[in-house]
Symmetry: C2
DNA sequence: CGGGCTTTGTGAACGTGTGCACGAATGCCT
DNA sequence: AGGCATTCGTGCACACGTTCACAAAGCCCG
């Protein structure tokens, strides 16, 4: 008798699209739109309409047949599902080039992820101010994480320091990590890690360029056609 | 008579892992390792060994049974497949916070993607120097793209300017775009677009945090266990 | 030179994600 | 009130990706 594993598991692919829908819906709301069809939302998000409906169906049946979805209510439901009903403070490890840019980038706090602190190993960087936050020494990490109730850590160190940074974050109590270092982090299973790697992205583009270059004289490859949204 | 569609198409999932293997193999080579098994490489890359073998098999049969893969040769083959046998100059649109960080980040050129230019619409930013490159006006984009043979463009503008930036890049002749703006770009089909969106990544982490929080009293969720590499 | 050990390469099963197509529900118009 | 147009929700088939399991192929050693 399998009663019910876990309430409602949402597929990974869907979870990664919900933030996109959310942003678009927010923009539409700002423009005064209060009802939207799956077709229109799909067009704006650059995906298939059926996919939109299936994605949204995981949240529950919040649409009205023949009409569409009520924008405001949908925004509320997606925010609730993504856990965006309250702020998630983040701590940034590494005050180098990237750490500075991240701390200085205002979009963090606006979107519900205020910077609770920036830390670095280098005593020369400690004390300098970045985007309104004073850089502290990495030894203060546990204190920051605990007093500010931080669950999400950002690794913005050079590659060789990334694993150590991750271990310190985990030891301090962080359970999710956003990793900008071009390194595969080894962490306990329970820790969620997401990676952002510039070099990887560029190399994937390079692959496609190289591919186009070697397939020069192909017939049906007319690059004309109308513009169309690109997928992620 | 379907003779042979296209030489060897490599699955997207594999293409996105090849850069990771490449980096690891490079590190191993630096450490003097000249032969590696799929199992070891899998461990370092945080994936399944069978996946490594299947991925590498798309490049050809470059392993030796009972022994493993010759590191140097494998590096060569992956680089060839990814089109990394020569440099791919990139042009950055947007000299704001992010554009500055990207231009200043040395890792670009080192990894075969030299910054051929940085452009901006704001005349106040034109002329300033970023990471050794003088910022030029966006009207000079076509000239930069053509004289420097640029195929890859980077969109590092605010959201509202991103679509325009993309259109200018395409008009100038760029065929691949790396988009940092939280916007779905509409471009011709032939243009390859990859997106890097901080907010999306953080919101995905938020989802998982929220999920953990609501599933508090679950039995088999012992967060102990040994460390293990995390997947991308 | 043959047996045993190791590791690759891949067929096959399984799981996840995508997209079509259509029934079901709803609003609008006459 | 009834019919019609619209749009959601979802079953189903297919494509893609992952993992297992094992035969084939090579090395080493006695």
């Amino acid at each position: 008798m399998p009663p019910e594993r876990n309430r409602r598991r949402i597929p990974d692919a869907t979870v990664s699209r919900l933030p996109v829908y959310l942003r678009i819906l927010g923009e539409q709301a700002d423009e005064g739109v209060d009802s939207i069809s799956s077709e229109r939302l799909a067009e704006l998000a650059g995906v298939n309409a059926a996919k939109v409906r299936k994605d949204l169906s995981y949240l529950g049946s919040y649409g009205t047949r023949g009409v569409g979805y009520e924008v405001g209510y949908l925004v509320y439901q997606i925010r609730r599902e993504l856990g965006l009903t309250h702020d998630w403070p983040v701590v940034i490890v590494g005050a180098g080039n990237l750490g500075q840019a991240l701390a200085g980038y205002g979009g963090f706090g606006e979107r519900g992820f205020p910077v609770a602190g920036v830390v670095d190993v280098d005593p020369a960087k400690v004390g300098t101010v970045l985007g309104g936050v004073r850089v502290r020494h990495i030894d203060e990490l546990p204190q920051i994480v605990q007093t500010k109730r931080v669950n999400i850590g950002v690794v913005a160190t050079p590659p060789h320091a990334a694993q150590d940074a991750a271990e310190r974050l985990v030891a301090a109590g962080v359970t999710s990590i956003l990793n900008f270092a071009p390194v595969v982090l080894a962490v306990p299973r329970a820790i969620e890690v997401r990676k952002v790697d510039l070099a990887v992205e560029l190399q994937i583009l390079s692959y496609h360029e190289q591919r186009k270059a070697s397939l020069h004289a192909v017939p049906g490859a007319g690059a004309g056609a109308v513009s169309r949204p690109a997928s992620a």
